[in-house]
């Protein structure tokens, strides 16, 4: 079944692309066959998206050619690429929020008569397609009401509706929970068995190894090599990607024994926003300890984190930090006590994208560090410089906007800021989601260092390997209730899975 030997349908032959002095792609050879899943991996900035833009006709290579079915082509835009049967799902969703699923899928090709839209038939068409792939989507639902997993399905439908033979998926799993990701991979397998060619960009090596027929590694714009999953393992791929060996999921035990109890939560109730809410949750966590919170997304994790951070008011229960009751303290005052937060949505919650790097480096501490009523310009600059130095922020200058960094660098900036002065309580949500191994390794190392320096860390993660690698103990949430507590050694997938599903272990 693996190692497809269908014909090559889309190929890049010796393509190079420069942006000024930067070489984003250099003499890259890459192809994909019908009935094959070809994974492309590499660090952020390795040139993966650039290569895809060349294949999809969004840009032209400086040299080299693109070939469809063995014939060289020159797409004048992605419209030509679509006509040639190529479809692409971008790293970031491109959906019209207010439009329904059907309107988004049919955008630009709405069926109609004499200038009148035929909503009924487009909804019927989309429903047929969605059911065919087992998507539980109502074509009439506005996209703004959908979660990330469902949005991803809408993006896929957009491509499938055009009956693309080649699908390019640029980091489709970056924003998905593990459950949603594995559902996506089922679809990918299905597409392959239909004889379509799939190019998949992803960061999680385990996923890549399980889903791909062929894996190509890109580093600094060059192809390092192609391997078949049977002959590769995570360590080897990691080495190819970054040029040195990284064992991301290795446990590093903490130095010394944990200190006193720092955080005491007693029967906390927090109302839900969209998920489950939190019910009767109690926890004692020590300084110098990482407590992992496991669970399927939307089972009370965010409610817990935001109640601790002071953005959500609990309806019952109490929170004490270092013996002090902070249950109804404002977020700004909690920050003064050393409560720090790395939120799950780095672009909308962790950064002001149009602020400069130095302004972002101050975010959240603008009041604590102010000099009179004036911004502490020197502190702000020094902080940004220090983060850039310690976290190797690529492309740093104090005035660069946060928007202009890659996801990995944005996350480094946030973590660097939240850890810049010793934290008493550090709340961290999905800190390495969608990051490449290099960036993820830096972040994990810093979290461990913060723990060793005496911070009490609450780590919400949807990545079980991450929890096992970082946490000193793992608490499982299901439906807003703690269903169990495990040591990382005992937290195998099966046990965690049962607790996450609400079945007592």
């Amino acid at each position: 079944m693996r190692a497809a030997d269908g014909p090559v349908v889309l190929a890049a032959c010796g393509v190079s692309k420069r942006f000024g002095a930067l070489v984003a792609n250099e003499a890259v050879d890459f192809d994909v066959r019908a009935g094959e899943v070809h994974a492309l991996i590499g660090e952020n900035g390795a040139g993966k998206s650039t290569l895809m833009s060349l294949l999809y006709g969004l840009m032209h290579p400086d040299s080299g050619t693109i070939a469809v079915d063995g014939r060289a082509v020159r797409f004048s835009s992605c419209v030509d690429a679509m006509k040639a049967g190529i479809g692409m799902v971008f790293q970031h969703f491109l959906l019209v929020e207010r439009f329904s699923v059907a309107q988004n899928v049919m955008l630009g090709r709405e069926p109609g008569r004499r200038g009148m839209l035929d909503r009924r038939s487009s909804e019927k068409e989309v429903a047929r397609l969605a059911t065919g792939y087992g998507f539980a989507l109502n074509p009439a639902t506005p996209v703004e009401d959908l979660g990330v997993g469902a949005r991803q399905q809408v993006e896929l439908l957009k491509v499938l509706e055009r009956n693309a033979r080649v699908l390019i998926l640029d980091e489709p799993t970056a924003a998905l929970s593990p459950q949603e990701a594995s559902a996506l991979f089922d679809i990918v397998h299905r597409l392959r068995s239909e004889g379509r060619a799939v190019i998949l960009i992803a960061h999680k090596l385990k996923e890549v190894l399980s889903v791909a027929d062929r894996i190509t590694v890109l580093r600094r714009g060059k192809v390092v090599g192609s391997v078949e999953p049977e002959q590769a393992d995570e360590a080897q791929l990691g080495l190819m990607m970054v040029g040195r060996s990284i064992d991301l999921d290795k446990r590093v035990p903490r130095i010394g024994a944990p200190a006193d109890v720092a955080l005491r939560i007693t029967s906390l109730d927090v109302p839900a926003s969209s998920g489950a809410g939190l019910h009767g949750f109690s926890l004692q966590a020590r300084a110098g300890e990482i407590v992992g919170i496991a669970g399927v997304e939307g089972n009370g994790q965010i409610e817990l984190a935001e109640a601790l951070y002071g953005l959500r008011e609990p309806t019952a229960g109490a929170i004490a930090l270092e013996g002090r009751d902070i249950t109804s303290m404002s977020c700004a005052n909690r920050r003064r006590l050393g409560v720090r937060y790395v939120p799950p949505d780095r672009q909308r919650e962790g950064l002001v994208l149009d602020f400069s790097t130095e302004e972002n480096a101050l975010l959240g501490d603008q009041r604590r560090l102010r000099r009179g009523s004036v911004i502490p310009a020197k502190t702000m600059r020094r902080r940004a410089d220090a983060i850039a130095r310690e976290y190797a922020l690529a492309g740093y200058s104090p005035s660069v906007k946060a928007r202009d960094y890659s996801g990995g660098n944005q996350q480094r900036l946030i973590v660097g800021r939240e850890l810049s002065e010793g934290a008493a309580l550090l709340l961290v949500c999905a800190p390495t989601r969608g990051l490449d191994v290099g960036a993820a390794a830096v972040i994990r190392e810093r979290l461990r260092a913060a723990r060793d320096a005496g911070a009490c860390i609450l780590l919400v993660s949807y990545d079980l390997d991450e929890l096992r690698a970082l946490a000193d103990r793992i608490i499982v949430l299901c439906g807003g209730v703690a269903t169990g507590e495990l040591t990382p050694e005992n937290a195998d997938d099966a046990t965690l899975g049962m607790l996450m599903g609400g079945i007592a272990a």
Binding site: H92, C331, V352
Partner: protein
Amino acid sequence: MNRLASSFAAAALALAAGALAMLAFHADPIAAYGALLQGALGSVQGTAETFVQTTPLLLTGLGVAVAFRAGLFNIGAEGQLVVGALCSAVFGAWVHLPTLAEIPLCFAVGAAAGGLWAAIAGWLRARFGASEIITTIMLNYIAFLGANYLVSGPLRGSNAAPETAPISPSAVLHPLVSGTRLTAAFPLALIAAAALAWWLRRTVAGYELRAVGQSERAARYAGVNVGPAIVRAMALSGALAGLAGSTEVLGLLHRFNAQLSPGYGFTSIAVALLANSSPLGVIVSAFFFGLLQNGALFMQAYAGVPKDLVSVVEGLVILFSAAGMLRSARGRARVAVGPEGGVGTAPT
């Protein structure tokens, strides 16, 4: 294209479109714009009068700009100007203090009144999520009609005309240059622009206001109390418009009547848009609009082109400025499509 270039392009395109309109009616655009410039800058009196026209546009423009920076669309500058003018006129007529005390107090009353008026819309937005676009428009009507009622009834001076009693002589701002109407209000407005630029860039309150404007959500996560920040931003915006009203009363009319403003508060939206909400940019764009408005009569008299053409140009400036903004927003969405670099801008 950077923002400065885009502003100049918007102004140039608007003037060019105005020229086309003149050509269509067989008027000579070169003669018309020449007369306009001659009227606006050709003499000491003309130049001084251009600055006089610039002053309220500058102050209200700053008000609209600061609201924009907080992510708020304050369409109510005209109403806030009227409320500020009325209150400082009443106050100025009522108290008799030494000039050095009375003038600052009159300004303070005007600013406070305009600020409170705008804060209503800010509060409705923060508390109930009511769109400030709608509420400021409604507050405009309340201000206009309320002021009309007051000056034709309870607050009418001894005069038969519907206006308040004159302010006390110690509240009058005298011309800086004799034979002109140019008062200290103009340099004060310039100082206000510089102060606002500094405040936005360098103070914690300014930083938080900009954070709220760029991303309300991220600001909340940074511990900013977003509701009060919105109310404060609207209050500051309204205070600047109220100050504009005070300058008209103290420097020009010495009383309040309904003809006080030819719509400065509305033109100020174009002023702020053209300046891209940069306080220092507002100085330039307010001057541009002041020049157009002041030169318009001269253009009508000497080139036979109706002065309303200037309103057309103003409208076109809004159109082209907005088009420029759309363009840059689109550009950003496109980067998100292209590789890396741009991150996560969903097209809106």
